[in-house]
Symmetry: C4
Subunit: 289 residues, 4 copies
């Protein structure tokens, strides 16, 4: 795109400044594209910024660090927020289909990355409230933007989407099983052995079925141990199911991914390898002639 | 069904009240069917009732909640029991083959959902506290009533049924291994390190093989730790087997499920897609012409 | 076999008592066979005897039970030992190839099931020694005899034997990884945090890689937690390997098992479906014409 | 190689001592080769030396053992170091392409096996205790020298290398999920329940997602338990992915390994079965005519 625009000597000769349309195209190539040199540099800078801003949030959560470097952390916080706000506005400006970008998954993530910091200004007194802390953590969603640069993550995401019905059935089955086994354990073990209520017993059952096994609640009676051992063995068979489902769908998606491409603007997958424009939002594919 | 009955103006014109046979068909369509508008509404109400009644049982198990809202919980309990009793009776009345319904899986679940509450009347004195507590918790089996609405759960259930021989062999192998390793650990570690008896050691072995690992019993001697590490590695290879078995059967069942349908009356699966009547209990398939 | 011997009126008419050769064949059919009525009854009695004798060993390991019922347990112990000794002798007598039976896997298990009890007579003073307790537990190997009646366990065993080279490589890789990661954790965490020596750290690494996670040893330093998290993720990928190996071999073996049969005398597998005699030890297949 | 050199009577007759070129070939055959008798003997001695030296490092890490046998351990240590140094020098001398050997994986491992001991001489004072301790433990990397003898371990390594892109995406996805869930748990549970900072919460999330579940940090609030249970179920579906990826790649690599061979000098894989020389470093394949 960039090179074709620069090589096109006639159009540049006619106007002394680059026309707005061409500016948009250049910006689009830099920001959304991943194949030109400027696009690659922009991506690299963005990845570093995101990682650093996430690191700042994490350090902020460590008590003594937060108290010692309060000022530095606030400065860093506002620097990244302004940077990401600019990036967000340029993305909207340069997108060939702004509406599609804004309401795409990554568009919403981009917005969520900058909103929490501004909200701390509107609610200054509420600085230490739980709600604001929750919003602050949303900035970590910025990390999700990284996955845009790893095309293969789409395979993982899509294979989970395709098999969502089967995974739902699996979750439902596990919950029903956890409810029944949890209730039985509540009767068998009782409140004295840590199984204080049915919800707690269900929590224990899920910890056991998924083979996590914290050990904060364990059976103490003989019957309880017998039931627990049975739960582990049955649960292990049940839990084998998602492995099978995901594996089958993943194999299918990997094969399909080799034959199609994904739109960088609206993230819609399954375009033909020789496609030049997204058939959903009309964006031009960078690198395509 | 409903619409064909209503459209059939001649038969309605002849008798002023809907004949008993037509009433049965309408009820059957509402209660067992899932495609007419009335049937969908009935299903929605029933699902909400089931979830609320299960929630009530769970809240009842939390000590302080049960003591504070004793009256409210009892009222809610009886309301749901009467509702489910009515539903059970109407199901028997409207079923084209009541015997097949009563002895089907869901027929038994429907019965189990209402019996415990009535039994609490028969055992009014709190002297048999365990029985009352057991009956109170058994009501949680109502959650199984939901399975009727998760069509694909049949796939999971059937794939477990088909591979039950192989899964049994697997369970048996694990138990033999657990017995031998458990005995060795009992000798190596002894009573002082928590391995108080062979049954307890077997419980520890199952907790370890299934990778749950509570940590309530752990090896303390060098030889015990060596044996435990070996158990984990060997056990991990053995436990990989059900994953393979279930995956293979599941893939087969998913494919088969696309080509067949399941009877809503007796829950028998594997009917042809163009079948209109269950070949086992003779019930008419709702939605079929 | 039995029926053909009985039907063969001429030979029976000639001698009034059943010849020794015929007796052997009848016994062979009852003890090794699983298809005649007498054979099925014998198997059922044997399974119950084995389970009861295993139960006796388990109960014997529970301190208070052993002290209360010392006499009863000794009587039960000797009753089962004499029963299994008789069974062992009859098996040798009736086997068409006694040497093949004695040195087969199940022949050795049968011998190991009865030897420990006799050894307690030879070493009477050593009754409470650890070694004798170890031998006593060997009786639990009797349970292994059960698997003779579950033909499908051969599939599991053979698929493990076929992939033993690959599983060995896997075990070796895990041990090398555990050694390296264990040493690093020993340096990072040190003796104060429970990682008292490299062998202990290797034990911790295996507990972590296999996702058992007892929690008796856990990292306390930041670097240790980072290394532990990395170990879990890498380990999880490594540990996925046996699942793949076993699954592939299992699928192959299941298919192969449908086309072949296994010798009941020497347990050699892979005979053609129409085979009448074992091509290794020459035993006649029960049920074959 | 050896026999062809010895049989070649003419060349031996010409010079009374074996020429340097022939010496190199004989040494190459003994040290790098695995098929001649001398080569097998050398390998056996080397494997035993490696295992013993690794055992010495492990024993050295056990406090009381190290203090009691300080002198013996130092002597054993230097004996093995000199032995491995000689082996390393002879390998460089006899290799047809020393540079390729030195910078190959096993060349670096061989160097790493001897360097730490010499460095302990350079840092003689115990004032840098950690450095000495680190160097002492680093010797454990000698265990990697064993890998040379486990031909099939290349399959495992290569299948991990081939699928490194997909495994990276998986690791990245798990880290993003761990970051988000960890932050939520930090807000929900807070510092009082052990979730002292976001990094600690992320550590907890990885421990939970990989189903290790130490139990050193566990949720205490109702909301935290609900979130933890959800994490386990979602995490279990995500974690099923590497199993699928590794399995598919492993199956491919096993098939490929049957058709190719690996260079013993530079460890480059994928040579044709009938190849006589490595197409990367030019080394002659032992055993090839």
């Amino acid at each position: 795109m960039v090179s074709s625009a620069l090589n096109d000597g006639v159009s540049v000769a006619k106007g002394e400044i680059v026309s707005q349309r061409e500016l948009k195209e250049i910006l689009y190539d830099i920001i959304f594209g991943t194949e030109s040199r400027a696009g690659k540099l922009f991506d690299l800078v963005l990845i570093c910024s995101i990682l650093l801003s996430v690191l700042a949030v994490m350090l902020d959560s460590i008590g003594w660090f937060s108290r010692t470097f309060r000022l530095e952390l606030t400065l860093v916080e506002w620097a990244f927020t302004i940077l990401f706000t600019l990036e967000y506005l340029v993305r909207i400006y340069s997108s060939p289909n702004p509406r599609a970008y804004i309401f795409s998954f990554y568009g919403l993530v981009d917005l969520l990355s900058i909103v929490p910091t501004y909200l701390t200004v509107i609610f200054p007194g509420a600085n230490f409230l739980l709600v604001v802390r929750l919003l602050r953590v949303l900035r970590i969603f910025r990390v999700l933007k990284l996955s845009r640069y790893v095309g293969e993550s789409n395979v993982l995401l899509r294979s989970l989407m395709v098999s969502r019905r089967k995974v739902f059935v699996f979750f439902y089955s596990v919950l029903v099983m956890a409810t029944i086994i949890g209730s039985l354990m509540f009767i068998v073990e009782g409140e004295d052995n840590g199984f204080t209520s049915i919800p707690t017993s269900i929590y224990w059952t899920i910890v056991t079925i998924t083979t996590v096994g914290y050990g904060d609640i364990t059976p103490h009676t003989v019957l309880g141990k017998l039931l627990a051992a049975t739960t582990m063995l049955i649960g292990y068979s049940i839990i084998a199911v998602p492995t099978g489902i995901i594996t089958a769908e993943l194999a299918h998606e990997i094969q399909r991914d080799r034959q199609t491409r994904t739109c960088p603007n609206c993230n819609h997958a399954g375009h033909e390898r020789d496609a030049k424009y997204c058939r959903i939002c009309g964006a031009h594919f960078p690198g395509a002639d």
